[in-house]
Assembly symmetry: C2
Homo-oligomer: 217 residues x 2
C-alpha cells in the first residue's frame, strides 16, 4: 500500500525514467516534485523499503517491475478519469489534468473497472496517451516530437503533452489533436520554428510548440 504522496513520487520516477529505462537522479526528482533534495532522499528510502524502486546511494533510483506496474495503475486511473471528464462531463482537454491528479488516488479497483466499461474501454486519453490495462501493462508505440522531423514528413498526430493548460488551448486553436494528419512543410534554421500542415491548413509553430506535439511514423 502506497500513500498518496508515495504514489506521486513513484509516478514522477516512472515518467522521468522514460517508463523505467533509465535511472533518475535526486535533483531532477526534487525539481519535478517541487520539493528539496533532502526530502527526496527521505522518500526514496521509503519507496525502496517498499521495493517499488532500487536505490544506489549517490547514483539515483530505478523502478522495479513491481513499481512499474503500480505506477501504471495510477497512470491508468489518471487517464481514464481524464477521458471521463472530457467525454461524459464536457470538460475541455486543457481543464482535466489537475482534477485527474486528485482522482487518480481514489482507491477502488471496482470503480475503475466500472468506469472503464462505462467509457467503452478507451485505448487512449484525450491527449492521445495510451491507457494501461488493469494488470498495469501498456503498449507504447514509439513517438517522435515534431521538432525532430525532416521537412517533407507526413503522418498523424499521436499525442500532445498534457500538463500545460495554455499550450493545450493553443493546440486546440490550431487543430493539433490526436488522429489528425500532419505534414512538415519547412523549417527555419535560425530559431527552429516550423511551417506545418495540420489536416488542411498551414500554420507556423515555434520550437517550443513543436516539441510538444508527438507523431507516430
Amino acid at each position: 500500500m502506497l500513500s498518496l504522496t508515495e504514489e506521486n513520487y513513484l509516478k514522477a520516477i516512472y515518467h522521468l525514467s522514460d517508463g523505467g529505462s533509465k535511472a533518475v537522479l535526486t535533483n531532477e526528482l526534487a525539481e519535478a516534485m517541487s520539493t528539496k533534495a533532502a526530502s527526496v532522499t527521505d522518500m526514496i528510502k521509503k519507496l525502496s523499503a517498499k521495493e517499488v524502486i532500487t536505490y544506489e546511494k549517490y547514483y539515483g533510483v530505478n523502478v522495479t517491475i513491481k513499481g512499474k506496474s503500480e505506477a501504471l495503475i495510477v497512470i491508468r486511473k489518471h487517464r481514464l478519469w481524464e477521458t471521463f471528464l472530457v467525454e461524459k462531463l464536457g470538460f475541455a482537454w486543457d481543464e482535466v489534468h489537475d482534477v485527474a491528479e486528485q482522482l487518480e488516488h481514489i482507491n477502488s479497483p471496482r470503480l475503475i473497472e466500472k468506469l472503464d466499461e462505462f467509457l467503452g474501454y478507451p485505448k487512449v486519453d484525450p491527449h492521445g496517451d495510451p491507457i494501461p490495462d488493469n494488470k498495469g501493462k501498456i503498449k507504447l508505440q514509439p513517438q517522435v516530437p515534431v521538432d525532430q522531423l525532416q521537412v517533407g514528413f507526413q503522418g498523424k498526430i499521436a499525442a500532445v503533452k498534457d500538463s500545460d493548460s495554455n499550450l493545450l488551448k493553443y493546440l486546440d486553436k490550431i487543430g493539433a489533436k490526436p488522429g489528425v494528419k500532419i505534414k512538415v512543410l519547412g523549417k527555419e534554421e535560425y530559431d527552429e520554428s516550423m511551417e506545418i500542415l495540420i489536416e488542411d491548413h498551414r500554420v507556423f509553430i515555434s520550437k517550443e510548440v513543436s516539441q510538444n506535439i508527438l507523431v507516430v511514423g
Copy 2:
C-alpha cells in the same frame, strides 16, 4: 480551507448534532470517528480556530453557520457521487458509501457542477437522502423511523440509513427502498418487532431494522 481529516470531523459533528440543532460531546465524536477523546480535543481546537464550530470546554461543540454550509458542501459531493455510482456505473446501493467517502474530498467546484448537470440535478441520493444545493442549503423534511409508528400507519418510505452494507442488502431483498408504499400491520410488544406491508407484500422486521427505515408522514 479544511484538510481531509478536518472535513471528516466536521461532517461527523454536523450529523451527530442533527444538522446543527444540538451540542456534540467529545466522547460521542471519538466514538463516531473511531479515535480517542484526546485526539478529538486536539481537533476541535483547530476547527474552532477556523470558526466552523464553537467550543465550550467540557461542554461540547456546536456547528457555526459557516461550518454548517461547509459540512453540507461535503455532504452534497458525497450524495452526488453515490448517485453517479448507482445511476451511471451500475453499482448496487450497498456498494457506494465507502467509495463516496473518498470521492467527497475531491476539490473542484466545476467538477461537482458538471456532475450535477450530468445526473440531471437529482434531488435525493440512492438511499433517499436529500442532496444539498451548491450554496450549501438543504431542505429537510421531518422523517420518522418506522419503529416509532403506530399500528395502522400508512405512508411512503422516504429514506434508509446508508452506512451498513449488510443492512442495505437486506432492505433491497424485502423491497424497502425510497418511494415505496408502507403500512404498519402490527407490533409485537415483547421484542418490538413489527409486521409491515411493503408495496404489496407482508414482511416481519426486527426493531433493529425498523429503526433504519424512515418515512414521511
